[in-house]
């Protein structure tokens, strides 16, 4: 995401609260993004985000832009904030903490938006032209759909140039992103633990799971069965089915499994065999018997003489 040095102006076109970035390299709270799981289906129109990367942009222009599109203006780490609008909107907080594209995309997706136009106003000097930059960002991935468009405009022309630029981008904005691939995993054993990329996603039978495009490792384990591991490559929009058949393992071959509650259970070991403990018990009984017998036999008489030649006492 673009660096915002002083203040950030967040604008919501359709009455949605928006916010913007800061330049911290912190990750958002996006468990679903970490797992690669897809968010809920987008149901509301997109959020349009307008950001300014400098405090040299005339306040009048910012006011005009805000009035034009109904934006909220949130200064972040600015030395001379032009406007301050407090917000408790979690989306604002999420985007404000973003340091990379994925973070921005996850924040956009968490607002149920299908994309965002990020407009950056910046100015190198107090009297120079206003640089107007527009990016279109995907939800979740946060990647730019189109090459960045930049214009150098005088302040008076900046506002008038904004509308046609945004309108030109709207068709792209409203084209829905490719759907997330889905993976349906079937297992011949109910209650088997299903893990995707090392994360437990549930026990069989399990519903289709939406995953990020790419390669995923599927691991299925069940008590009494040999574990199965598969790798699957998922393309955007693909619906893949993976049928896994677990094979019952013998008592000796069974090693270690993780059961549904997460506890680790060891398989049969050498000490599980009955004959081992029969032998051990026999040895113990004989050993104790011999020891006690010898002990009793020797304790009944005088203690043995030490090794060596006895010397007479002195009188």
């Amino acid at each position: 995401m673009r660096t915002c040095s002083s203040l950030v102006l967040v604008l919501s076109l359709l009455g949605l609260t928006a916010s913007v970035c800061a330049q911290e390299d912190t990750e958002p709270d996006a468990e679903t993004a970490a797992l690669g799981l897809a968010p809920a289906t987008p149901a509301v129109p997109p959020v349009l985000v307008l950001a300014s990367a400098t405090d040299r942009v005339p306040p009048e222009l910012l006011d005009a832009v805000r009035a034009h599109v109904g934006a909220a203006i949130i200064p972040l780490a600015g030395t001379r904030p032009v406007r301050t609008v407090a917000t408790d909107d979690p989306v604002s907080v999420a985007i404000a903490g973003c340091g990379d594209d994925a973070c921005v995309g996850a924040a956009i997706a968490s607002a149920n938006a299908i994309g965002a136009i990020v407009v950056t106003l910046s100015r190198r000097t107090g009297r120079g032209p206003i640089a107007l930059t527009l990016d279109i960002r995907d939800p979740v991935s946060g990647a730019m759909r189109l090459p960045t468009q930049s214009l150098g405009l005088e302040p008076d022309a900046a506002l008038s140039a904004l509308d046609p630029l945004i309108e030109a981008l709207r068709p792209v904005m409203f084209s829905p992103p490719p759907p997330w691939p889905e993976l349906l995993i079937t297992v011949n054993v109910d209650g088997a633990t299903v893990m995707i990329d090392g994360e437990r996603v549930g026990s069989s039978p399990i519903a289709a799971t939406r995953l990020a495009p790419g390669r995923h490792a599927v691991m299925v384990t069940a008590v009494g069965y040999s574990g199965a591991r598969r790798e699957v490559e998922l393309d955007p929009g693909e619906r893949e089915r993976l049928d896994i058949t677990l094979v019952a393992s013998t008592a000796v071959a069974m090693d270690e499994v993780i059961v549904a509650d997460g506890t680790t259970v060891s398989g049969p070991q050498w000490y599980d065999a009955w004959w081992v403990w029969t032998i051990v018990g026999g040895v113990v009984v004989v050993g104790v018997g011999v020891g006690i017998g010898v002990g009793v036999a020797t304790s009944s008489g005088p203690p043995p003489d030490p090794i060596g030649i006895p010397l007479p006492p002195i009188r």
Binding site: Y271, D272, W277, V280, V283, V284, G287, V288, V290, G291, I292, V294, G295, A297, T298, S299, P304, D305, P306, I307, G308, I309, P310, L311, P312, P313, I314, R315
Partner: protein
């Protein structure tokens, strides 16, 4: 039941240890080890070695070892007797000494013999007996050394070295075949 099985060795192993301890409890203890170290004496020249243990006087009374008759051990290789002065004389035959001593020097020089003794004397002595060693070699009393025993009664498991050097002027008898 599964979780209790690994615990079983914790009971089994101590039981085996106790059994072994009981079975080994009757083993006799090590005696007091006396190392007789000859210096400048060839092993082949030793005719015999005498150890004379002399009790020390206590309160003006000269004690003595009590032994009514001569006793022999190691198939006659070691003989114990008490002389008229109440001294205990331990005579080690040359044959036994030569068969059991180990040279610690070049050739058969500086032999050392280890013997184990014990005493069930119940009266401890602050003044421990003196022990003198006399080596008869080539027909002469050629080497002699003396010391005091570290404790009395002898401490089981302890070790003491009595050094018996060749007497000055008796080199010919101590080392008759030495170059």
């Amino acid at each position: 039941m599964r979780n209790t099985r690994p615990v079983l060795p914790a009971f089994v192993l101590p039981a085996i240890a106790i059994a072994l301890t009981l079975s080994c409890a009757a083993e006799p203890l090590e005696g007091f080890t006396l190392d007789i170290q000859l210096q400048g004496v060839q092993l082949s020249a030793v005719d015999n070695v005498r150890l004379i243990l002399t009790p020390q006087a206590m309160g003006g009374v000269m004690p003595s070892f009590s032994a009514p008759e001569m006793m022999s051990y190691e198939d006659g290789g070691v003989a114990l007797s008490v002389d008229d002065d109440g001294q205990l004389v331990i005579l080690i035959t040359g044959e036994y000494f030569r068969a059991n001593a180990v040279p610690t020097g070049a050739g058969d020089l500086d032999p050392r013999l280890s013997l184990q003794f014990w005493s069930d004397d119940e009266i401890p002595r602050n003044m421990t007996p003196q022990i003198r060693g006399v080596v008869t070699a080539s027909g002469f009393d050629a080497a002699a050394g003396a010391a005091y025993l570290p404790t009395w009664p002898l401490t089981l498991g302890a070790q003491f070295t009595l050094t018996i050097p060749c007497t000055a002027g008796r080199e010919t008898q101590c080392r008759p075949t030495a170059p």
